[in-house]
């Protein structure tokens, strides 16, 4: 027993016609597509652009990094603390310098003191 012959698809001729009717891409479209291809390829083959570091990072680099930043912060805090607490010795010294309230004795020192002979001669 043989299979009945397969009925031809009534649309086959039309599909075949449409397939052969395809118009190939024109030169203009080919050029547009190839220009896109070249541009995209150049883009991902280009070396990455150097990224400019933010201002804070550049400042840290100038002063020597975080250890220097820690020193700078300590010095700053110490300055603030001195300004606020005003140690007594510092206040006296600064007041004396500003108001001239300095008491002391003038002593003439003999340049030969201690060099003279016990018998009084040089």
């Amino acid at each position: 027993m043989t299979d009945a012959p397969k009925r031809p698809d009534p649309l086959d001729d039309a599909f075949h016609a449409l397939k052969t009717h395809a118009t190939p891409p024109g030169d203009h479209l080919m050029s547009r597509v190839l220009a896109d291809a070249d541009a995209v390829q150049a883009d991902f083959l280009a070396p990455p652009k150097p990224v400019r570091a933010p201002l804070s990072t550049r400042f840290l680099a100038v002063i020597g990094g975080w250890p220097s930043m820690a020193g700078l912060a300590t010095a700053g805090l110490a300055g603030v603390w001195i300004g606020v607490s005003q140690p007594a010795a510092l206040v006296q010294t600064s007041e004396a310098l500003i108001y001239g309230d300095v008491s002391g004795a003038l002593v003439d020192l003999d340049p030969y003191l201690g060099l003279s002979e016990p018998d009084g001669g040089l």
Binding site: P10, L11, D13, A14, L18, R32, V33, Q41
Partner: protein, 191 residues
Amino acid sequence: MPFDDINAAPTEALLQLYANGDPEASRALTRRLLPRVLSHAERLLSNRAEAEDVAQEAMLRLWKIAPDWRTGEAKVTTWLYRVTGNLCTDRLRRRRGVGLDEVPEPEDDALSPADQMQENARAQALQAALARLPERQRQAVILRHIEEVGNPEIAEIMNISVEAVESLIARGKRALTTDLAAQRDELGISE
């Protein structure tokens, strides 16, 4: 790579060459893929100018994805048909509201010999009938019968099951047969 070798290379390998900077790879890929992408878009949209824009956009997306392409995960042609289909769907949605009468007819070649004229007439009638099909049926019929893509690959392209593809194609062909019945004798289409 020599010209003959590059034309014989598999599409995935060409894409890898393109990603690695080979300037000839894009030429070979364009020669191989652009006619298929353009033809598919033209069948879906029934408009040459729009199809050219879609084809250029689909190829641009291929160039951009090349460095990240993972060989073995999908076929380049499957991916391209899917992108082309999605781009055409976007265009058709934007076109919504334009009546079927306003959809341009394919160009006519008035100087063809008689047999060529009948071939052209068949092609034009089928293209017009395809344009009247629902979008998903049209895409499935075109992929199966014009692009000659297998049902499992169509299922992957359209992101549906193989059974759904078969159903879309069967309904699409029934609608086309009915649509073209009136012109059967004129177009020389067999019963």
